[in-house]
Amino acid sequence: MIEAENVHFSYPSKVEALKGISLTIKDGEFVAIMGQNGAGKSTFVKHFNGLLKPSVGTVKVDGVETTKSSVAALARNVGFVFQNPDHQLFSETVEDEIAFALKNFGFEQHVIEERVTWALNLLSLSQYRKTSPFLLSGGERKRVALASVLAWDPKTLILDEPTIGQDHEQKEKLQQFIMQMQAQGKTVVTVTHDVEFVAECNPRVVLMKEGRIVADGEGKEILTDPAMLELSSIVLPQIAQVFTRLSSLGLPKDIIDLYEAKTLLLKAKEKTSR
């Protein structure tokens, strides 16, 4: 469980990035933290593994205050996948790359070997075991970075802008993957501005603006609320965009799912043809 209470944070340049954020994320939840660039999303999630410590307020992970713990200790349970995999990759082989964190955390050799094989399989990277990560394509490198974090099986997974630069199929696979993690009971927090991606997954959405939380609730409600659109400059998912213009037909506005949309429209058609 992650509990943030009245978190304020300022960068050394004196800019106050977080202005009093309080949030609780329970185990097993799937949360999408959204908002414009500069709203403070990445700054906020970096408090979950102690990379940043609040200047005012507290952040507790499983009851332990982050100020009383090292990043390495917190990272054991909170895995953070950064936006750019090239900021992590440095090893000679994919195998070594995945084993890196396991070595840091002091796992025994035979456990390391098991975990590496498991992670390689999970992300379809087995054929690249002995390949240099630098020779892989962009999408493959992203998978290696993800594998290297999953290897130590953290309870919580934080994904910072996982959909950037991904094509349609890669995004679908990512979605399925997150669902899989969820099914295993992991807590998944993703920082993203990809509304279509969020619309597909429909998680809990926490909307940030200028260092504050301005909305917190069901994805469907928040992503179709025009007031939210005004407030934090997010773009409505395409299906929702269609339905905002159909209110004269008596159709609801909070639709983001393709199949729900189809069903509603077919029903509406039936009504008018009677």
Partner: protein, 283 residues
């Protein structure tokens, strides 16, 4: 006369085991808005670099076929000559800006060519105006947002007054709102200045509505090409792994279930909404 003509182009990067582009042929007419899409690794990024000569001059490697841009044979002319006709905007905003102030960055190409200071001032002012960034002209590239940086990159290319502007996934790093603003700028340049635009993008939900020529690539070849409405209705497109806009998908799903909204495949939420309103509004 087509402004870009590519005939049977095959290109292999140095040291690669197979070609990145294989037997590609393409014709682009002046003033078109071309959208190139396809799964990662399909060769669209390599194709972009063929338009201004980075392939083959910068990247070397093996090349076969013909590429003629604005009447010039790309293989036989330096990249700096092509720069006067084709501008290329890249994916990462940060790595395209190297001067210490924005207006100096926009002037970079003109300085390279040796344009006089008075001429340069006029062109820089015009480019900054067209992209809506005149107010930040004296700031440094590090102080501005990603969306603004990409607009600077577009202005920098625009200042050279090219006939064609090629953009390789320019909004990858931007949020949807900033991305939309960029597309609006590009569309305006296409409509008002008659500049031929070639845009490589994954996000068809944001861009399909602007294009009048869609090219779908897969594994180094052009698989489908032509009118966006036709191509996006084609099942093969979806099978290749292209992200069809949700509005278009909904239209097709309704059609399958007997609810036909008309002959025109919608490319945007506005078009679909209009079609639905027409079909369902009480007479």
């Amino acid at each position: 006369m087509a402004i870009i003509e590519i005939k049977n182009l095959t290109y292999t990067y140095p040291g690669a085991s197979k070609p990145s582009i294989h037997d590609v042929s393409l014709k682009v007419e002046k003033g078109e808005f071309v959208l190139i899409t396809g799964p990662s690794g399909c060769g669209k990024t390599t194709l972009c670099r063929c338009f201004n000569g980075l392939v083959p001059h910068f990247y070397q490697g093996e090349i076969k076929g013909e590429v003629t841009v604005a009447g010039i044979n790309v293989f036989e002319h330096h990249t700096y000559e092509m720069a006067k006709h084709v501008g290329l905007v890249f994916q990462n905003p940060e790595n395209q800006l190297f001067a210490l102030s924005i207006e100096k960055d926009v002037a970079f190409g003109l300085e390279n060519v040796g344009v006089s200071r008075e001429e340069m001032r006029k062109k820089v002012d015009w480019a900054l105006n067209q992209t809506g960034i005149s107010d930040i002209r004296e700031q440094s590239p590090h102080e501005i947002s990603g969306g603004q940086q990409q607009r600077v990159a577009i202005a920098a290319v625009l200042a050279m007054e090219p006939d064609i502007i090629v953009l390789d996934e320019p909004t990858s790093f931007l949020d949807p709102l900033s991305a939309e603003k960029i597309f609006e700028v590009i569309y305006k340049l296409n409509k008002e200045q008659g500049i031929t635009v070639i845009l490589v993008e994954h996000r068809l939900d944001l861009t399909a509505k602007y294009a009048n020529h869609l090219v779908v690539m897969d594994e180094g070849t052009v698989r489908l090409e032509g009118d966006p409405r036709q191509i996006l209705s084609n099942e093969e497109t979806r099978l290749i792994g292209v992200g069809i806009p949700k509005a278009t998908l909904l239209y097709q799903m309704l059609k399958k279930e007997g609810f036909n909204l008309g002959d025109k495949t919608p490319l945007s939420s506005e078009e679909l909404a209009d079609q639905i309103l027409e079909a369902l509004s009480p007479r």
